[in-house]
């Protein structure tokens, strides 16, 4: 087995091209900010949108993967010989197959074989089959005989460091040294406090479970490979697949097309890309490989569980004096960042001079984690925001007021404590509380009957959401004034394409329905990083604006000749170019002879660098009202309000949709979602949507309000927008927990707040009196 060279990018983008235009932020807008339906709504609603799982090619085979059924095992022998003769079977690959003798990198430095004999978690790939139908492929997978040597396992991170715990890797279960952070002196800070509280919190592991299954279709044309992949980033998949197959990037084309959700679990390539490619090569036929729903609960990522011990000190006037946080977490069987960013909110959200954090990441025999919508942040908010509530109660202060007292102006956890470009946290809290009617409902009676009502608040920020280079976009203007937008970023459902079309419309006056937008495709669209980190709008929108301005400049040069007006004295009004000096001197874009002769104007736009010495973060405060049935422990969320500072609102309608989506996902973390391992076997017990409960139409309030703090951030980028998709889910679960406490006086520090857990806590409190 050869050692492939991996493509990795370190640090800042070395020389991002000088931005072609660095225009001033818009002062007023005609299109941007409006509430407009999506430009690709027709495709997604009519069924004409082709998602990768919809691709059916002539002569296509179907693949299925045999996965290790044990939490910790070694493959002694795998026999696929009988299977090769089964009906419809065209290829079988195992760890012994030469064609499948490839490396797989779980991280940059930790690699295994594609089919490695060492299976450190249930669901690790062992073999794969391609057959004429998926049913025949599964028949064959079930018939492959495998001899496993089964080892003891550890599936609970709290037991991973106990003496005698089975070692997931040689050298023990610690993933390196604990990550430590310190500023000020916490001992001094606690000594200065009037009240010191300490509590343990835990969030359970969650699964992403996007609606479209993970998978791809692979097809070879000689030495060229095409993958139709359900992915958040076509270029990341191209780079990983090309490097592992040792192929030129140009010969690996990844077509993203539409995609059915990812939430972080589809940011990179997966083993299924390689398996499909290998099977397609062996059979010389296209191969479709989409995982089953059950498989997606085992091997395509999770939000890791987080155990958090938080000690906090506060003065009676609400001044925070110290935070001390200890985190224990796990990314599963490989070093995938099990504790990453869990401590960030404690470090950065509130003004506090003395902070110490320590995070210990351990291995367990579980599926490797992947980033999930605001990695680390909802977990950290679960601890910090419940603690803020408890501190407020301890000093007799309103929880909104305590937070307002500690709104930061600088990012304390960043080197040199740079200021934020904008900090909308104060407006989020004050305007949110006002719109929610906080003061009145907070004082209201909890109810005399067995059903109690309560309200809760929680806040947050997102460490990223700034975006940045690299990003390149091309805008083409046809001679009739219609346009084409060529961008490599995937619209993962957030409305990216719609927002970008609105930017083009803003600058060029083209109606949205006359803008055609290419879908992410490494063969035809420009380079873009994966759509994730709430950075797609702040990254791509300035590049789109820059490309549109490049077109506009050329357009004005052409019009200047025909109108006999200097190019810098022209503007676009509707479908015409108009003189700023005399509105009667005008010509329709479609009537410009120069444009006719040129046939097409092409503008290339790039994303310039971010401002130096400042931090660009989005902020959020959420308020909710719940009802708790003290007889059953059931919690019903009655309403939610989310006040967001994500800079400029690009499209009011899709903005609101992101907000309600984030709240819905957060309600899942708060009330129902948790990975459960079987204690006897280490297998995931709830590997389907019946047993792993995500919110349904019955579980969320219809009353969800999005309150944008619509203040463009002039220093963030040339559009003034910051990221939104992740901050919207960061404080949600903590807000629910705080509302439950307000209703019944019981603090649920471990997620989810299941009826069984809550009724137990209510009963225990009754006993204590």
């Amino acid at each position: 087995m050869k050692t492939p060279k991996l493509y990795f990018v370190d640090g800042a983008v070395p020389e991002s091209p000088a931005p072609t235009d660095t225009p001033a932020p818009w002062t007023e807008t005609r299109v941007v900010g409006k509430s407009l339906p999506r430009v690709d709504a027709y495709d997604r609603l009519s069924g004409t949108a082709v998602y990768p799982s919809d691709v059916v090619l002539p002569d296509m085979l179907y693949a299925a993967v045999l996965r290790c059924p044990h939490a910790n095992a070694r493959v002694r022998k795998v026999d696929g010989s009988l299977v090769e003769r089964m009906p419809g079977v065209r290829a079988v690959i195992t760890g012994d197959s030469k064609a499948a003798d490839l490396r797989w990198y779980y991280t940059r430095t930790v690699f295994t074989k594609l089919f490695d004999p060492t299976c450190r978690f249930e669901g690790e790939a062992v073999a794969a089959v391609a057959a004429e139908t998926p049913q025949q492929a599964w028949d064959a997978v079930r018939a492959i005989t495998v001899e496993y040597e089964v080892f003891p396992f550890v599936a609970d991170e709290r037991k991973a460091l106990e003496p005698g715990a089975p070692a997931v890797h040689d050298g023990g279960n610690r993933v390196g040294e604990p990550e430590k952070y310190q500023r000020g002196d916490v001992v001094k800070g606690f000594a200065e406090a009037d009240k010191v509280l300490e509590a343990s919190y835990r969030t359970a592991a969650e699964f992403h479970t996007p609606m479209e299954l993970h998978g791809c279709v692979a097809r070879w044309d000689g030495k060229r490979l095409t993958l139709w992949d359900s992915t958040q980033g076509v270029y990341g998949v191209q780079q990983r697949v090309a490097s592992l197959l040792e192929m030129p990037l140009a010969n690996v084309r990844v077509i993203g097309s539409y995609m059915g959700g990812g939430f972080g679990s589809k940011l990179q390539a997966d083993k299924y890309n390689l398996i499909a490619a290998v099977l397609a090569k062996l059979t010389a036929r296209p191969v479709k490989l989409f995982l089953t729903r059950e498989e997606t609960f085992l091997c395509v990522g999770n939000r890791p569980p987080a155990g958090m011990r938080l000690k906090a000190g506060v003065k009676n006037d609400g001044t925070l004096t110290a935070f001390d946080l200890t985190v224990l977490g796990t990314g599963g069987a490989y070093p995938t960042g099990g504790t990453g960013l869990v401590d960030w909110l404690v470090r950065d959200l509130y003004t506090c001079p003395n902070v110490r954090t320590e995070a210990t990441d351990v291995y367990i025999n579980g599926g490797p984690s992947r980033p999930m919508r605001a990695p680390g942040h909802p977990q950290g908010a679960w601890a910090l925001e419940q603690m803020m509530d408890a501190l407020a109660e301890a000093i007799g202060m309103d929880p909104v007021q305590l937070r307002l007292k500690n709104v930061p102006t600088v990012s304390q956890a960043n080197e040199g404590q740079p200021p934020y470009t904008t900090t909308g946290l104060r407006q989020c809290l004050t305007e949110g509380a006002k719109a929610f009617g906080w003061d009145a409902v907070r004082r209201r009676s909890k109810g005399d009957g067995p059903v109690k009502r309560g309200v809760g608040v929680a806040a947050g920020l997102w460490i990223a959401g700034d975006g940045g280079p690299p990003a390149t976009v091309i805008v083409k203007l046809f001679p009739d004034g219609s346009a084409n937008l060529n961008m490599g970023a995937s619209d993962i459902g957030t409305g990216t394409k719609t927002v970008m079309a609105m930017v083009v419309a803003e600058e060029l006056g083209v109606p949205l329905e006359q803008i055609q937008i290419e879908n992410a495709d490494t063969g035809t669209t420009e380079y873009a990083t994966a759509s994730g980190g709430s950075k797609t709008v702040p990254t791509e929108a300035p590049a789109v604006r820059s490309a549109a301005l490049a077109v506009k400049r050329q357009l004005f040069e052409l019009a200047a000749e025909e109108l006999k007006v200097p190019a810098n004295q022209l503007y676009i009004e509707g479908d015409a170019v108009v003189s700023t000096k005399d509105p009667k001197v005008t010509k329709k874009i479609a009537a410009l002879q120069g444009l006719r002769r040129r046939g097409l104007l092409i503008g290339v736009g790039t994303r310039g660098p971010n401002i130096e010495g400042k931090v660009i973060n989005p902020f959020v405060a959420q308020f909710c009202e719940v009802e708790v049935d003290t007889r059953t422990g059931e919690v019903e969320v009655l309403r939610f309000l989310s006040a967001n500072d994500s800079g400029r609102v690009m499209n009011r309608l899709t903005y609101e949709n992101q907000v309600i989506g984030g709240i819905t996902m957060g309600i899942g973390l708060a009330l129902t979602e948790q990975r459960v391992f079987d204690r006897q076997t280490g297998k995931v017990v709830n590997r389907n949507w019946h047993d792993y409960k995500i919110p349904t139409a019955m579980d969320v309030p219809a009353d969800m309000t999005s309150l944008p703090i619509d203040v463009p951030d002039p220093e963030a980028n040339t559009t003034g927008a910051k990221g939104l998709g992740e901050p919207v889910t960061i404080p949600t679960a903590a807000a629910v927990a705080n509302a439950v406490y307000d209703a019944v006086g019981v603090r649920v520090t471990e997620s989810p707040i299941s009826p069984m857990r809550l009724i137990g806590l209510i009963a225990a409190r009754g006993k204590r009196g």
């Binding site: 709504a41 009988l82 995500i694 219809a702």
Partner: protein, 208 residues
């Protein structure tokens, strides 16, 4: 396909309700799982048999295909008839991405064999279009932005169509119950509720 008359808060006479669905298909799903496990190497696979001629009426047109008896309606619609508006989400009757109308009633196409659909009128998302124009429920989903990634959306639209055919003016609680068999991981339910309400108005105006 059964649906629970007394499910949830509002009671839902149509639409795929979760509890009712499991009652109806539980026995069948269990049987299929048992068959799968009894596999021995090299033996003819359980459930597989010679392909049989199946005639399906889909969106008003008859299609005759050769199908193995174990093939689901979902598989035949997507992979044999090319009607990929119907999506695959779980293949175990949990998510509703594959919802189609069977004689006007929403069912999960993943939990029905293609053979079982013979003699019934199947309507998919594509069948709700007016030629190249969006139908009223689709139009309502567009106006209210009742989707994000759009992958569960065909099932949501078909479920809403089934709900509105049985109950043209549902209350919010009836909408909730009627749509409870369709999961949306992007979490757009609050907009879906609005869209179903809007669709009810659009259908009334259109007189259909």
């Amino acid at each position: 396909m059964g649906h629970d008359q007394n499910d949830g808060k509002g009671g839902c006479p149509q639409g795929v309700s979760r509890r009712g669905f499991f009652t109806a298909v539980g026995a069948g799903a269990l049987g299929a799982a048992t068959l799968g496990r009894s596999q021995t190497p090299g033996a003819p696979p359980a459930g597989a048999a010679e392909p049989t001629k199946v005639t399906l009426r889909v969106n008003g047109r008859a299609h005759t295909v050769l199908a193995e008896p174990r093939w689901t309606l979902l598989f035949v619609l997507r992979e044999r008839l090319g009607l990929t508006g119907t999506k695959v989400g779980c293949e175990r009757g949990e998510c509703g991405a594959c919802t189609v109308l069977l004689d006007g009633t929403p069912v999960y196409a993943c939990m029905m064999l293609a053979l079982e659909a013979e003699g019934h009128e199947v309507t998919t998302l594509e069948g709700l279009m007016n030629g190249e124009e969006l139908g009223p429920v689709q139009q309502a989903f567009l106006q209210e932005d009742a989707f994000q990634c759009g992958y569960c959306t065909p099932g949501q639209i078909v479920a809403a169509e089934g709900l509105l055919r049985a109950n043209p003016q549902p209350t919010l609680e009836e909408i909730r119950a009627g749509m409870s068999g369709n999961l949306c991981r992007c979490g757009t339910y609050a907009h879906i509720f609005k869209a179903v309400k809007k669709a009810s108005e659009l259908k009334k105006v259109a007189g259909r």
